[in-house]
Every structure is written in C-alpha cells, then in structure tokens.
C-alpha cells in the first residue's frame, strides 16, 4: 500500500510504524499579498503527507496563497485517509480538497458520492498537460474527479556503481541480462539483490513490473480489474520468470530466508548502507531519498538506477502511482477549491515542489530543468516518455484484503512463493482463490 510505503520511507525501522500513526495538523498560513480575488477565504486541504513532504507541499500552498490571496490550512490525515475524511464529512467539517494517495480510495470516494467532478476548464487543462492515462486513473464512470499532482515511479532498479565496476558489468537492457549481471556480481563476492521479503508490497511490485512487460498493458489492466483469473497462463509465466530470480540462491542476499527477514529500509541499507551486502535493490524512486538521507550516498554517483528492464521481448515496464487532488462536495469553499485544482494542473505549481525535491510530476508541460538533480530528472523523463504505457500499481487497485494487508492475500502468497518458488502454478491457483474471495466482498 502506498501509505505504508510512505511510512517506511519516513521511519528507518518498521517498528516505528506502530508508533508513527499520529496525525498532525498545521495552522492557517497567511502570506503576503491578500489583495487578490480569493482573499478572506481559508482553503482546507487534507492529505497523507507529513514531515518533509508536508513541508514541501506547504510551499505549493504558499504559492497559491501568493497568487490568489486565499489562505490555506493543511491537515495531515496520517495512514488512513478514508476513515479520517469520512468522519470529517459526517461531522460537518469536510476539508475542501483531499489529496488521495491511491486510485482505489479515489474510486471509493466517488462511489460514495463525496466528490465533485472537475470543472470543464480544469478538465481541459488535464487533457492538454497530462497523458490520457492520468485522466483514466482520475475518472470514475466516465467523470473526471481526480487531478494527479504527484507521481511515483516504481520501475527503477537501484544499484551500487562500485559493485558493478568490481564485477565488470554494465547496466542491463533485458531481464535475462539483469540476472546474468547479478550472477557476475555474485561471482565477485557480493550477493546480487537485496529483496525486502518481509514487506509484501515490494514483492507485488516485482511481480507487477514483470507482468506489465511480459504480458502487456492490456492483460495488466484486465488482471487489475480481475477480469482474467490469476490462473491465467500469463500469470504463471510471470511467476516462473520471477521464480528464476527467487530460486537462485546466488542472486539473493541471505537466500530466501534472509530476504524474508529484511524489511524495505533494511533492503536499501544492504545496498547503500555502510556495510554493503548486496549490489542491487529494486523499488521505486523513493529509494533515492533513503540512500541519500540515511546513508549519505550521493545520488547519481554512488547510488544510481537503471529502468526496470524489458522482460521476454516486451517493452520496459513503467509502473507508477500517485496522489490525486479531489474536491469534496461538502467543502465550504468550492470556488477556492476549484481555483486550487486549476492551479495544481499548471506546470508552475509542479515546479514549486520539483525544485524543493522528492517529487515527480506527471505534468508533461513541466520543464525538466525544474528538477534539482539529474537522477530525478531521468526518472521524471522516463515517466513522461512512457506516456500512455504507464500503469498504476496493481495491488493498490485491488481490494485491501488482497493487495494491501500484511500477512494475507497477495503479500502473503508472494512471500510463500519467495520461500519456495518451485511451483508457480500452485501459487497462481492460491492467488486466484484469495482474489476471488476479496473481489467478491
């Protein structure tokens, strides 16, 4: 789940998850100006962001204030947006704009009738500034509700250039090449991959990248909607491909047992920590943040990435996700909210956060020069270049009991698969059984 990922980024230890669920709010912010059209209004914005992300988003809010004169107030909802927003609506205290972290939550909100469709001028802006796939993920039943402001790129494999140099290998172009490189790295004495098996979502991301590239976006969409079963031959094939990695003891640091005892921050530490125990770690663009902030790596120099390579002749996958801004029907400042969304659709708003760092924008009009460093620029470029080939994280689209809960469903079954990858067909059957149960409810 996206929100868990955020937490994992913020806290080094997974245990801190248990403690870190407190929500925090910010007071109203007044900036200069005030002579503008919306002065005197206070826009309420809620989102999952806290810490550095909240601080950077505040800069975007401040830019809005400067432009329109409306004051803003940001409330961090913590881990559970839908519960917090739901209770606020019931309490007659609905925020005006919510930044929803998952497409599933957006659909849930829309179906409950909480959301107001975007006004025509914003819809037009979305069509000109974003690839169509983003309005697809922002729409429910043909109406566009969500504007994707912040995106994640989950098709990046991070590696230690030093390990690659030691092993004498170059950045791979295909999955097979990546495994061959992995074996060379392992021959040099360093296990190839750090796999965070303790956090099930990293395993679903592995699967999704392979599946998207191998089976193609069409099948991917159908599987995400559970229109084809998990026992489909394409799924078994993707699991077999993933099994090639999981079953090779030389490729995984600590073997399957070690991987199952490694959480996500731990897997980054294994590659970029003071005592490297592996050469590569696969996860999204947020790996860079941890490598930089916690282990002092210089991104682009002693921590680099290559795009998740193409599998079996397919195109290289781009799995993504993002936070979408939605307007609540029950908000008290509809006009300000709509102005805010129109502002978020502009490259100008995206540039504010892009300069601050830790941000990718799906807005194709945003000048890539706005990004602070080359590595982020490259990920952003890869995301924009992928255009309509971008697909959202499949497990985020599934019901939580299948794709987003520790210890059950897809997370648990892929962990079992990591422990014993010998029978992909049986794993596919178990996945289908769990999915059938979850999608029914």
């Amino acid at each position: 789940m996206m929100t868990r990922r955020r937490m994992a980024m913020a806290c080094c230890s997974a245990l801190a998850l248990a403690l870190g669920a407190t929500a925090c709010g910010g007071g109203p912010v007044s900036a200069g100006g005030g002579s503008k059209e919306l002065s005197g209004q206070t826009l309420d914005v809620a989102g999952v962001w806290s810490g550095a992300e909240q601080k950077n988003f505040q800069k975007v809010l401040d830019a809005f204030t400067e432009k329109t004169g409306a004051k803003t107030r940001f409330t961090s909802t913590g881990d559970n947006v839908s519960t917090v927003v739901g209770s606020k609506i019931e309490g007659g205290n609905a925020p005006d704009v919510v930044m929803v972290p998952q497409v599933g939550v957006l659909q849930q909100f829309a179906r409950k009738g909480w959301l107001k469709p975007l006004p025509t001028r914003t819809v037009n802006a979305v069509h000109t500034n974003f690839a169509p796939v983003w309005s697809m993920y922002g729409s429910v039943d043909g109406k566009l509700y969500g504007l994707y402001f912040k995106a994640a790129h989950k098709s990046t494999v991070w590696y230690s250039p030093e390990a690659f140099e030691q092993a004498g290998v170059e950045v791979p172009k295909t999955y097979e090449e990546m495994l061959a490189n992995g074996r060379a790295v392992s021959d040099s004495g360093l296990p190839a991959f750090a796999v965070a098996g303790e956090d099930g979502w990293t395993l679903t991301d592995w699967f999704e990248n392979i599946y998207l590239s191998q089976a193609g976006p069409e099948k991917y969409d159908r599987l995400a909607r559970h229109e084809i079963e998990w026992t489909d031959p394409t799924v078994v094939k993707a699991l077999t491909t993933l099994g090639k990695l999981f079953s090779d003891g030389r490729l995984i640091a600590g073997g399957p047992k070690g991987a199952l005892g490694t959480d996500f921050p731990g897997s980054v530490e294994k590659v970029f920590g003071p005592d490297p125990e592996a050469g590569m770690v696969y996860e999204g663009d947020f790996v860079a943040g941890i490598a930089k902030d916690q282990f002092g790596r210089k991104i682009g120099q002693d921590a680099a990435f290559f795009p998740f390579p193409a599998v079996g002749g397919g195109k290289a996958p781009v799995v993504s996700g993002g936070d979408a801004a939605v307007v609540l029907k029950d908000g008290k400042h509809q006009k300000a909210a709509e102005a805010f969304l129109a502002f978020l659709a502009t490259p100008e708003a995206a540039a504010v956060w892009a300069e601050a760092g830790g941000f990718l924008s799906p807005n194709k009009k945003l000048d890539l020069a706005s990004y602070g460093d080359d590595t982020v620029r490259e990920t952003a470029k890869s995301l924009i270049d992928a255009g309509d080939a971008v697909r959202f994280d499949m497990s985020d689209q599934a019901p939580a009991s299948f794709g987003g809960t520790k210890g059950v469903g897809e997370w648990k079954l892929l962990q079992d698969f990591l422990r014993d990858p010998s029978d992909p067909a049986a794993t596919a059957a178990a996945l289908e059984a769990a999915a059938a149960k979850a999608y029914k409810g």
């Binding site: 021959d187 040099s188 099930g200 199952l260 009991s401 648990k412």
Partner: protein, 443 residues
C-alpha cells in the same frame, strides 16, 4: 445499602417498606445495569446477530459465516495457536509465579526483588512488543538474543575460512552430497589440477594471498592451485588462471582414490597444493565441505516454527510479576504453624513445599490460573507487533484473526463477528468457573 427500620406489628407499612426497599435497590442497580447493557449485553447480541449477515451487512447469510470460518485454514491455525496459548502460558506463569513467590520469601531484599519482577507490568504491551521484536531479530548484529547465541556458538566452533566460495558452473568441479566440491574426472599423478572458486568478497581474501601459482607437476605428484577465478573489474577467462587472480591460502585439499582419502594438503599463500609420491592410480581432488561451512546464523526466533513460543516468552516476561505477587500474597497468609510443625517433624523443604504449601495455596493458584486463561484468550497486541508479516498467519490467534478479518484488510465484519462469537463461547466456561468459585468463597 441502608436498612430501613420498620415498626413491628404493622402489616401495611411493612409491605410499603418492602416496596420502597426494592425501589431503592433497583435505583442502585440501574446505573450498573445500564452500563452493562450498553457496553456488554448489547454488543454481544449485536455481534451474534451480525454474524448471520454477509460482509455488506444487508444480506442474511445464515450459518454461512460459521461454515466459512471453519473452512478457512487461517481460523484453524488460530484455534490451534489459541489452544497452545491457553495451555502453555497460564501453566508456565502459575508455576513460575509459585516458584518465585516461595523463593522470594526467603531472600533478604524481597521487596526490591518483587518490585523488579513486577516492573514489566508497568510497560504497555505495545512497548513490550517492540522491545521483544528487536530482541528476537534474526540478524545477530541487531537482535540481542541471537547475538548471545552466535557468540556462545562461535566461542566453541571456529568459522570456516571461505563460507561463500563456490566453483563456477561447468568448470570441472561438482558439488558432493555433503557440500564438498570434487573434480568430476579422476586423474593420474603427474598432472596439474587447478581449482577455480568464485564468490569470495575481496575483503575476505587473506592479505597474505599471492598471485596464483602456475607450477607444473612432476612425475609422481599431483599439484595445482586453488585460485579465485575472478578478475576484479571483469575480463577474466573462466577456468583459467589470469594475471590478476590470486591464490586462496588455507584451504584443505584431499586426494581421493576409490572413495577413500589418501592424502591431505593445505594450500599455500599462492593457493598451491601438492601431493608428493603418490602411488600410480587415478585420483579425484576434493575440497571438503568444512572449508565452506556457512557461518552460524543463530536461531530464527521469529520463523514459522518458533514464533508462537517466542511471543509466549514475551508474555511471560510481562505477567510473571503479577502471578508472583498474587501468589505471594496468598503465601503470606498461610498458617505458619502448619509449616513449622511439618519442619519439626523432619520434613525436608521440598516435602514442605510439595505436601503443605501447594495444597494450602491451591485456591489462590486456581484463581491466578483462571484469570490468566481469560487474559490469554484476548492476547492481541503482542502477536500483532512481534510477528513479522510473512509469519503473521503462523502466529495468529482468534483475537488477531477476528480483528484482521473484520478491519485489518478483510473488511468482512460478518465473518469477524462469527469469530468473535466463537471466542466468546470459548471464554464462557472459564468465566462460569470463576463466577462459581467466587460465589462459593463468598458463602
């Protein structure tokens, strides 16, 4: 309650007084009844009702949830684990509490000692869970328990020199069933057999290692070099000794004929080994498994097999003090003369404990035991926090399962209610027992 004095001999006023007494009694009971009704009876009834509806709560499902519950292997695991908890934890706690209470009575700093043992009770389950999660961590660099286990183990058995070394595939070395590596074909004396290994981190090659030897063998000897068949930066030829490749010193090499080891050598700084004066015949060269024994990793406390005992351990840490203090209180009210009399009659301390103390304490022990049984049935937080994701299902008990199914992703409150009802049914016997005992001791 106040007793009302009624005038003797007047029937009407007496009845009136009685009615008044009842009214007052009802007034006093009412708040408690309301609270119990709102907080216990209503939720119980609601859960029972809810358990007959499906996940949405609108469609009547009959007994489907109950059938589903017993079809789901996770519930069966939960029932099994709950059974283990209920049997093991209260028994161990009562036993430990008894032993500690008796021993503490005999030490000088009894109060301080009791305080110390009681202290974990002041730690919240959440915090205790986090502490034990860290203590049980598998990596010896993080988990204190495994650090101790590995430390003790390594003090007795040394580590092997090249735990991660292995030959390349298809370069003439084959792995034996015991983890040793041997040449595939047999060779007569007079040959040079070089053995290439890979997978040794640069930092683990001893500093004394020299470039691998390429000396030729004489007529009656077998020799060769065990070398690191990997050129840093790539470009080496697999199977051949390249310029930058170093020998691996300190490895044991065996010459084997007809399955028997006939000679043993140790590699020198340049990786070379030599078996001189070998009789004619053909030999295979073998690198025994002891060279590659993986380092001891400690116990996997949080693996599927040990996770429940490990969490019970954490539970013991918290509750031992409670059991000890309760039993200690019972102990101090024991009639001393019985103990003294037994001692005068020549009973040993063990006999006094076994024949006098334990029987006299039996009522207290039962109370402690039953209270703990009820407590153990609802254990949740420790399991939720200590068990890592991959083994959560192996550690789950009814209470965690109920929560997971209803809120933790399952979002099926019908099935969750069914689990809740099952849990209630299982707790009821213990409750009834406790209430009965309570009544008996009051009368």
């Amino acid at each position: 309650m106040t007793t009302l004095t009624t005038p003797v001999g007047a029937a009407g006023p007496r009845r009136r007084a009685q009615r008044r007494r009842r009214a007052i009694a009802a007034a006093f009971v009412l708040p408690a009844l309301l609270l119990l009704g709102a907080l216990v009876v209503y939720p119980v009834l609601f859960s029972v009702g809810r358990s007959f509806f499906d996940a949405t709560g609108t469609r009547f499902a009959g007994g489907e949830n109950y059938a589903e519950m017993f079809r789901d292997p996770a519930t069966l695991t939960a029932i099994r684990n709950s059974a283990i908890w209920v049997v093991v934890a209260p028994t161990l706690l009562t036993g430990l509490g008894l032993v500690l209470a008796v021993l503490v009575e005999k030490v000088r700093w009894a109060t301080a000692f009791k305080l110390l043992l009681f202290m974990p009770m002041a730690v919240s389950f959440l915090a205790a869970g986090i502490i034990f999660r860290l203590a049980y961590e598998e990596d010896p660099d993080k988990g204190v328990l495994n650090a101790a286990v590995v430390g003790v183990h390594d003090a007795f058995t040394g580590a092997s020199s090249y735990p991660s070394a292995r030959p390349r595939d298809d370069q003439g070395l084959r792995e034996g069933p015991d983890g040793s590596y041997g040449t595939a074909g047999a060779v007569p004396p007079g040959r040079t057999v070089n053995l290439g290994l890979v997978g040794v981190p640069p930092g683990e090659v001893p500093a004394r290692a020299e470039p691998a030897s390429t000396a030729e063998a004489g007529p009656h000897e077998l020799r060769g070099a065990v070398h690191l068949d990997f050129t840093p930066g790539g470009g080496g030829r697999p199977g051949a000794i390249d310029a930058a490749e170093r020998g691996l010193p300190g490895l044991t090499v065996e010459a084997v004929r007809d399955g028997r080891t006939v000679a043993t050598a140790t590699t020198a700084a340049d990786g070379s080994y030599r078996f001189a004066d070998l009789p004619d015949g053909s030999y295979t060269i073998r690198l025994p498994a002891a060279n590659f024994a993986p380092p001891y990793q400690g116990v996997s406390w949080l693996g599927p097999a040990l996770v429940t005992p490990a969490i019970i351990g954490a539970y013991l840490w918290i509750w031992t003090g409670f059991a000890m203090v309760l039993i200690g209180a019972g102990l101090s009210s024991l009639p001393r003369d019985a103990l003294e009399a037994a001692r005068m009659d020549g009973a040993s301390e063990w006999q006094v404990f076994r024949r006098i103390t334990v029987p006299l304490l039996a009522p207290v022990l039962t109370v402690v035991f039953v209270t703990l049984v009820i407590n153990v049935m609802k254990v949740f937080d420790l399991i939720y926090i200590i068990a890592p994701g991959p083994v959560q299902q192996d550690a789950t008990v009814l209470a965690t399962q109920m929560w997971l199914v209803s809120f933790g992703g399952g979002n099926d409150q019908g099935l969750g209610s069914a689990l809740g009802v099952l849990l209630l049914l299982l707790v009821v016997p213990a409750m009834v027992f406790n209430v009965r005992r309570f009544r008996r001791s009051q009368s």
